[in-house]
Structures are given as structure tokens and as C-alpha cells.
Symmetry: C2
Subunit: 337 residues, 2 copies
DNA sequence: CTGTTAGCGCCTTCAT
DNA sequence: ATGAAGGCGCTAACAG
């Protein structure tokens, strides 16, 4: 390994000068600088970033924890994170927790061992183990799309899920729907509560009932979308509109409805949430809520960087705007059902 | 920051003993160990992994370069990489190059500055800048799904693209198709050549012509799938089968064909490549080539780890098996066209 | 089995 | 403007 010393010898200067040439070039004579640069190139020298990190105590890396890497929605956020991090000279350490607490703990602990300076969490769990909880209190951390459950108030970035599902429910009610089914994601989360509350608030305002057994689901996956439809249809209640908690669920739902010979939206309207790329290209194109994923990622980096730099936070909740995309998977209710 | 010294004082031992307790516990008395562990817990001590890295010269991280994070196909591979890396105690640094050479160079250089011990590249370009090329010669590097263009023979992991497109072309020829269109991805790549060669070899064996202007495309995206169809239809040649170089392209193609009032597969058969998750759930479910993405990721880690550990490689090409998934987007040719 | 000591590669006062 | 020297937190010989 070629170190700073190799360069010293080649350039006939001290380590300090080489170091300065790289970090504070204005403190070095043009002539010396030139000699040093030449020596650096000749030696093929690369500063060992680990060694500098040890002094500063900063690794210049951000740990990102995802519950499921394969969800395209998260991807888009990660892309935003990655872009923003790169701009700040930070690199992104990726951890796919797969919902496994042990993995989550391991990854989170990387911040504790200085491998990363901050943590961006795309889940609602407190990612540290009990042993680490105390240490974690001072960790720069932010959650996106969820709120970390902890006494400590970690900042979070999300959209107004309540309002968003109100918008989409209103959209369906506007089409005359009054027989709803809901296919949710993971139940233990703030998102679940907010979204359901949004739906319920509109329906109760309109005097439309929503029976508990018309709320099914439990996971943000295509398979749960299919299964959800099966469960809903098995209830033998009238059903003309299905609200899905993400687009993957909606894709599974539409697929399953077609299998049962039902047409979307003529027989049943289906709406999603997230606006993943493919949603616009399935048949029929999906009515959904667009989340500003790229901005969410960028915001997350901004917030966690602010903590790392010790700049006091004026607030700890960042609510980004959503928008309702009306496409073809939702439409007027059939007159007779 | 609580360091090893804090623990020393608390436990009344030397730094060496603390270090040993953590790394080589068998060299320490049970009693001492106990005292040390207690002190560690009491102090809330976490070894600074940067500091150890500086000694060993290893960062225990792998850099992964992706041309486009949002492609679900890459995601699956990354997931495989992530799982395998975690098993080896390695963490994954993610770099989305977005096809930008400058970003690629920057990320690749992280291996040079010891932030990562090895590089996994999901693209065909040589990721280092000219300046770094010389240094890069000794870097542990492997490419997945592509072959890095360089004099140095870096190992690669891919499937037999030639054979795979032969299989899919044969599948279509078996259905009686003789009027083909092809929508490719990025043209400057080994994959492009191999896949096209596979198609051509079958067609020429069968005496079926493939006109150059029936080969369109240029990017692995839904949009290029749509655009590709438009271009193909504009040729006004008879067309009954479209081979797409990935599933995203196929999704765009099917979407566009429907817009033009054409039915898939009754009027035109469409096949994809990759088998991304959603392919099975679109309408019609896509006939495609399944790539063992998870295995590819795992294999990549295995190969790069072997280089890092300095174990000599017995070979540098790893060809994984593909399989043809016959779903509903392909079918018999219409009798009259 | 444990402590002492000398660095790892770099940065950073403190002199000069 | 540059050099000498100490130290970041940890590990690994080498003693004891």
C-alpha cells in the first residue's frame, strides 16, 4: 500500500505538507504543491479515508435500513437518499433487514461502531437492540414514511396519510361507491392507523358503513393483494370499490379480480397508493396516490445531516405533499349490484 | 466517545486484554473476561471499527455499483449481494451511477481509498477513471450480468444470453412465428451482442429473415418499450412476435400494443427477459427468461471475497442457468396476417 | 494469561 | 510556508 510517506520521499517534503496540499492547499506554495501533486500521481497515492476518519471521528457514511429492498417504492426513496448523500460527499451503506429484528439490530449498531454517522430508517421499529438503546439516544436518526416508536422523538418524514386516504375515498364516493373493501399492509404501524382513519372519517361523514371483515390484508405485497380479494369476495357482501394500501397490493388485487371474471373498473374499482413506476402501465392503469419519493429521500439526508452537524432542529416532523392520480382503475359504480 | 481506555480503567486491565476479550476470548481467563464484559457494558463501549480497519487494512465493506437502482432486476441481485455480504460480516456500500461516468469513477475510487475492500459492478464499463486505471489492476472486482471491458480479465457472472434468446426464439418459432421485431436495451454491451446473436442464429437456421429496421430500442425502460412498438409498427412490415430485452421493455410494449388496439398474444406475441416480480401479474402474464438473481448476487460476493482473501481463482467466468417461463403473452401465430 | 510497547496512516498543533 | 512530533482508537508482537 502506498502511503503518505511514499509521497513525502518522492517530493522531498514532510507528511504535514502532503496532508496540507490535499486538505488546505491555500497554505502551501504553488511550487511545493506542484511537486507534491506530481509525487502523488507518480506514487499512485490515495489517501486512506479510514485513517482520516479515525481522527475526525466521522466516517462520512449514512446507514440506510430498509425492511424490504424489493419493494419498488423504497427503491425510489433510496435513490433520492443516494443522490443527496453523494452531493454531500457521503456514501450510503445499505441494510436490508427483511423485517428481522436481529439483522436490524446488527445494522443499526454500525452507527454505534462509527461505520456510519447517521441512520435513515424506512420502517417504524426502533432499530436498536435493548442493549444499545441507551447508546442510541444520541444517534442521528430519521425515519421516512413511518415514525419510529420510541420515547425519544426522532424526526420523521412522511406525507399526510390521513388526508391522502380521505382524498382517495372521496374520489370513490364521488363516483357513487358505497360498498368498500380495504386491503391493508402491515398492521402494526402508524401508517395503518392514519390511512384507515382517513377512510373511516370520510365514510362516516357520508353515512357509509365499513364492516370490520371488509378490512383484510397484512403485508405490502402482490400476494396479499390476491389473497385479500379472495377474502373480500368470500364475505359475499356487495363490493364495488377496493382501497389498497400500496400499488403492489393493488396489482395483486386486479390480477385476482380478473381471474374471478370481474372487470376493473366496470364491476369493481381498485385504487392503490405510492405510484410506483409500473402502475401507469398495467391494465387498467392504476388510480393511486403519488408520493414524492425522491424528495423524501433527499429530505431524509438533509435532516440527518443537520443532526450530524449538530445544527439544532427547529422541528421534527416533515409532511410532504401527496397528489391523487386519477387513472383508469376507478370509475362510476355500476347501477345495480 | 467512550474508548477502549475507559473500559481499561473500569475493569482494571490493559487495552490489550480488552481487545483480546473481544477478538480472541479463548486467550483470556473466564474471570477477567467477565470483568471486562461488565466494564464494557457499564461504559457503553463500542469498538470503533474504523480504528481496527486501519490496522488490518480491511474495511469489511463491499462497494456495489448499479447503473440504475430503479430497475427491479438489479434490486433482486443487490438483495442477494446484501444477504451474502451480511453472512460474511461485510457491509454493502451502494452506488447508483446513473450511467454517469463521473459518479462511477468517484464510487469506484472508494475501493482505492480503502473504504471498501472489493467492487461488484452491475455494468459493463470499466468503472475507474484513467488516472486510477493503473491502481485498479489489483482491485478485487467482479461484474454481474455483464463483462467489464478491460485488458485485465475480471471475473464475471452471467447467464448464457445466447442460449437464452435461442430458447425464447425457438419457443416463438415453434408457435409458427416468422415475422419478428426486437426491442433491445443498451446497445454497447456484450449482452446486446450475445442476445441478438442468439436470436439471429435460430432465425437463420429456420430461414426466417430479420430485417435491421425491425431491431429497435436502446434502453432498458418501459418508455423504450412503448417507443419501440411505435417504431416497429411504423415500418408497416408484417409483425407477429416481439422479443424484448427485458421485462420493463415488454411491459411498455404490451401497454403500447393495446393502445393500438392490438391483442397480446392473439395478434402479437410479446416475450421479455429477467422475470421481475410483476411480470407474472400483468395482463397477460409475461413469457420471459428467468434469471437466478439471488444466486447471482450471492455468487458475486463469493467471487469477490475470494479475491480479497487472495485465494487463487480457478476460473473467471461463471455461467448460471436460466429457464424459460412460458406464460400467456406468447401464443400461436394468427393464420392470416 | 496479561501488560508493555510500538505502530497502522493520517492530521494537527507547535515550532522554526 | 514548512517540519517535527504527538496522538486518534485499536491491534499485535514481545515480554513477563
Amino acid at each position: 500500500m502506498t502511503t503518505i510517506k511514499t509521497v513525502c520521499k518522492l517530493a522531498g517534503v514532510s507528511t504535514a505538507t502532503v496532508s496540507r496540499t490535499l486538505k488546505n492547499p491555500e497554505q502551501v506554495t504553488a511550487k511545493t504543491k506542484e511537486r507534491v501533486f506530481k509525487a502523488i500521481e507518480q506514487a499512485g497515492y490515495r489517501p486512506n479515508s479510514l485513517a482520516s476518519s479515525i481522527k475526525t471521528g466521522k466516517s462520512n457514511a449514512l446507514m440506510v435500513l430498509v425492511p424490504n429492498l424489493v419493494n419498488p417504492f423504497f427503491l425510489k426513496i433510496i435513490q433520492g437518499i443516494e443522490i443527496a448523500a453523494q452531493e454531500q460527499g457521503y456514501s450510503v451503506l445499505l441494510g436490508d433487514t427483511q423485517g428481522d429484528i436481529k439483522r436490524e439490530n446488527e445494522y443499526a449498531a454500525m452507527v454505534l461502531s462509527n461505520r456510519a454517522d447517521g441512520l435513515i430508517h424506512l420502517d417504524h421499529s426502533f432499530p436498536f437492540s435493548k442493549n444499545d438503546a441507551y447508546l442510541a439516544e444520541q444517534v442521528a436518526m430519521v425515519s421516512v414514511c413511518e415514525r419510529i416508536k420510541s420515547e425519544h422523538d426522532y424526526p420523521f418524514i412522511e406525507l399526510d396519510n390521513h388526508a391522502a386516504t380521505r382524498a382517495i375515498t372521496n374520489h370513490l364516493v364521488g363516483y357513487g361507491h358505497s360498498h368498500f373493501g380495504v386491503i391493508t399492509g402491515q398492521i402494526e404501524s402508524r401508517i395503518y392507523q392514519d390511512r384507515l382513519a382517513g377512510i373511516r372519517s370520510v365514510l362516516s361523514e357520508e353515512g357509509i358503513p365499513l364492516d370490520d371483515n371488509m378490512i383484510v390484508g397484512g403485508e405490502y405485497s402482490i400476494e396479499f393483494g390476491q389473497q385479500g380479494i379472495r377474502q373480500l369476495l368470500a364475505q359475499n357482501n356487495p363490493l364495488t370499490a377496493v382501497i389498497c394500501f400500496n400499488d403492489d397490493i393493488a396489482i395483486g388485487a386486479i390480477h385476482e379480480l380478473k381471474k374471478h371474471g370481474l372487470r376493473v373498473p366496470q364491476d369493481i374499482s381498485v385504487v392503490g397508493f405510492d405510484n410506483i413506476k409500473v402502475s401507469a402501465f398495467i391494465d387498467p392503469p392504476l388510480t393511486t396516490i403519488d408520493q414524492p419519493t425522491l424528495e423524501m429521500g433527499k429530505k431524509a439526508v438533509e435532516v440527518v445531516m443537520q443532526q450530524i452537524k449538530g445544527i439544532p432542529m427547529s422541528r421534527n416532523r416533515f409532511i410532504l405533499p401527496y397528489s391523487l392520480l386519477e387513472r383508469d382503475s376507478s370509475g362510476p359504480v355500476r347501477l345495480q349490484n
